[in-house]
């Protein structure tokens, strides 16, 4: 395979360009193609599909390990990184976008809060085959080695066979205590939720400030969900689309609101 024919792979994340998760993903992708990293210069967890429109963006080129990839760090959100990569930094459209490996699960409803998954969704919106990867461990020093064979096999499948239009993949890895993982299961996102609490504190001047905290509650007992298959020790793959129309309720609303 000549250098010119190697696929171009764009790598992004939301934990920031120095995170061990993205370092694992970069290493795996270097074996599959020409890798360009465009990732946030600081942690952007929980940024969802945010874009920077009331402020400016900065980009710095420079590698954070000894690998052959090209790296840019960006002051913006994960979605900003994808847009900057596609419209400014890359000289051709990537053959694949991979985002992650996120430090923490993006299963179930977390997909909507996740900067890592929003980068993948933005990739799909830009018509790039895109995959988000997340590990169910929050530790900075989590062991990502159990993910590696799946990074490779899923990325290769998508490079070879492409992606349905307007779709990307949300891949989640079970906690490392369940590695080696049993295989891959394709599933729907569980209908779970966060029950939030706020930790209310007082600053040195006595004024209140708030930290968001919460507990993840899954009351969806379906055996076809990501939460279920992750508990069984399988890697979960949920195909994700971004048309939010609630088609099943259209008829009801026609009757209620139109005259």
């Amino acid at each position: 395979m000549t250098q010119e024919k190697r696929p171009l792979i764009l790598v992004c994340n939301d934990d920031g360009i120095t995170a061990p998760g993205i370092r694992t993903l970069i290493r795996a992708m270097n074996a599959l193609g020409e890798v360009v990293v465009v990732a946030p210069d600081s942690a952007q967890s929980g940024m969802g599909h945010a874009i920077t429109i009331n402020s400016t963006l900065r980009v710095d080129k420079g590698n954070h390990d000894a690998g052959p990839q090209t790296e840019y760090s960006c002051s913006g959100t994960p979605v900003d990184c994808v847009k900057l990569a596609v419209h400014v930094l890359l000289d051709r459209k990537p053959d694949l976008l991979v985002s992650g490996i996120n430090h923490g699960s993006n299963s179930s409803v977390n997909v909507i809060y996740s900067g890592t998954m929003s980068a993948a969704v933005e990739g799909a919106m830009q018509n790039i085959p895109s995959i988000g990867f997340s590990l169910h461990e929050y530790d900075w020093d989590a062991d990502f080695s159990g993910c590696e064979p799946f990074l490779r096999s899923i990325a290769l499948d998508v490079l070879q066979k492409g992606m349905p239009a307007n779709t990307c993949l949300n891949v989640n890895f079970p906690p490392t205590s369940l590695a080696p993982y049993k295989g891959i299961r394709v599933c729907r996102q569980a209908h779970a939720k966060w029950v939030e609490e706020f930790d209310i504190r007082r600053d040195p001047r006595g004024k209140a400030y708030y930290w968001l905290t919460g507990e993840f509650i899954n009351e969806d007992q379906g055996e076809d969900t990501d939460e279920w298959v992750l508990k069984q020790g399988f890697v979960s793959v949920v195909p994700v689309q971004y048309d939010l129309t609630a088609y099943t309720t259209l008829e009801e609303w026609h009757n209620r609101l139109e005259e």
Copy 2:
């Protein structure tokens, strides 16, 4: 109707608590119930479903006009505002959440970038009947008066009949040049997209910085879309859900990725 029996209405937006759009919405809701405003203290456009997890939140109580509502401004995103309202500031669950009126359209794919709509989606996730309102005008001084009868009629419908589970409404108003509006049409979101460009500038030290710009392109000619009905001078209503699973592709992925 006694004060105790009036519905509790939570009002949010993403343009910030002083925006004329939210002032119009507050006035309309004051006629329907007890209104509590929890909105960002500065512009949060394009924040999508972002939440603040690496930083703290601040809240200040105080009204920005002479109306009877209670108002809190918050340092966080629109979704932060909803979570803070529900879990800290309100003493009971709201009967209705309304977000907006956004200065600018949130039709089609804009729903995914919009802080205004993400507040409504978060309301649905919190099991609160929720509606986002947006006007297709970016001017701070846009004329919102054409929206008023529809704010009232749609909010009343939802207060009286409720909302299907895991659903909210995305209501968009055509440009003011098309007012008075012809009525309401329920529709799906158009499959349109943004084609981005970045305005690249140099700071006084010669280093590049970037402004995101772009053009909205609608190639979806369906007459059942929000873009279509808005062009005809109707108010568009898209019911919105937040399960992103691409159900129609599950079978294909089972065959491709499972062993």
